[in-house]
Subunit: 226 residues, 2 copies
């Protein structure tokens, strides 16, 4: 792991979240990119349950990640991924189709895939007992299904979305992971293989391990009944 | 208007949409950027009602805009805005906070604001008669409300989100426009002023006029009863 208290890059993460969210919190994205590209980083922890008011000055929604690079900072996973890739020179120049493909798929992950998956998780996990969620689900399942089908078609026989493994894959795999167990996903072996291929990368494993280690360290004491 | 049949930039747009969608279709975003930055462009029209199957090879969701620049192409509004800004050199270099701010707010518009607004429009327009939409609306209104409040706070006294007017403003104003009439929006005069300021720009007016002109030209003949 590339965690170094003197690193220029500082990733803000939550000190603890409930077990269902562990391994899904979005600081995993810049951690993964840092591990892929050999960028040392340090971590600043904030409480997820009581988010400090000052944090909204840095990250307008109070979410993670927020990333500082030396004196200045960025928010939104997509912007952070672009910055980290530019920092190590792995983003092709603006004159190449490869860059256009990476940017197109990066925005596609966050603008055209994640919103539907997020609402799907909203309906099947967070609000699954709400009447609206039960009634909403059938039409939403159709939308998710159609989008995954188009994504699988676009991936085709390719190993990664835009040539070499890139920040577009970090983005797309991150937004797909929360629905790995859903039928719409399981029925698409090419997408399944794509996510498994990405999760099999050593850099992903190190990033995941680093996130989970923080949560283990900050696990609240169990309420003992005696 | 900068429409030129010999331009390198080609924006794919719909030839006609029903009146409630006119002025909101997303080819407005690259049209606006082209008008702001003095980039000549041509337009390729496809049918919104019967989208050609070949188009999915270029734009995986069958949506507009898709933009070609000479031999190669991009999809997703965000990627296209980055490309157009890079093309004319108005995106600051990666070493400056100004670039970080533009990228952060650009992704914020498409990843953290638009998804909620889209679902809000889903509930209040497209599916307003569905039971799930009526039941979903109260909690969704709260989410939209909170996000607009945070956005208004982040904007503060600033004229634009990231220093000078930028692609981040083109993005944010474009995603806010569909809810201009909603109470959550009307109650926030600073946001209202921000959108009005952007819509008051001559480049916006030219882009809107260009989109509407296409629809007027392709208006289906009224079905006469005789």
């Amino acid at each position: 792991m590339l965690i170094d208290p003197n690193a220029d890059i500082e990733i803000t993460a939550f000190e603890w979240v409930p077990s269902f969210a562990q391994g899904q919190v979005r600081d995993l994205r810049p951690r993964w990119a840092c591990e892929e590209y050999g960028i040392a980083y340090e971590v600043r922890l904030i409480s997820a349950l009581e988010r400090p008011e000052w944090y909204y000055d840095e990250q307008p929604w109070g979410q993670v990640p927020y990333v500082r690079d030396g004196q200045w900072g960025l928010f939104e996973s997509g912007a952070i991924l672009v910055h980290l890739a530019e920092r190590v020179g792995v983003l092709p120049p603006p004159t190449l189709q490869a860059r256009a493909d990476i940017l197109s798929w990066l925005f596609a992950a966050f603008s055209s895939v994640e919103p539907f998956i997020q609402e799907f998780v909203n309906c099947t996990v967070f609000n699954r007992k709400e009447e609206w969620a039960k009634l909403r689900l059938p039409s939403l399942e159709q939308v998710v299904d159609k989008r995954l089908e188009r994504l699988q078609q676009a991936l085709g026989e390719k190993e990664w979305l835009a040539g070499e493994f890139s920040i577009a894959d970090i983005a797309m795999v991150s937004v797909l992971r929360p629905i790995k167990d859903a039928a719409q996903f399981q029925e698409r072996p090419a997408l399944w293989d794509y996510v498994a291929r990405a999760e099999g990368r050593p850099a992903f494993a190190r990033a995941l391990e680093a996130q989970l280690a923080v949560f283990a360290q900050h696990e609240p004491a169990p309420q003992t009944a005696r």
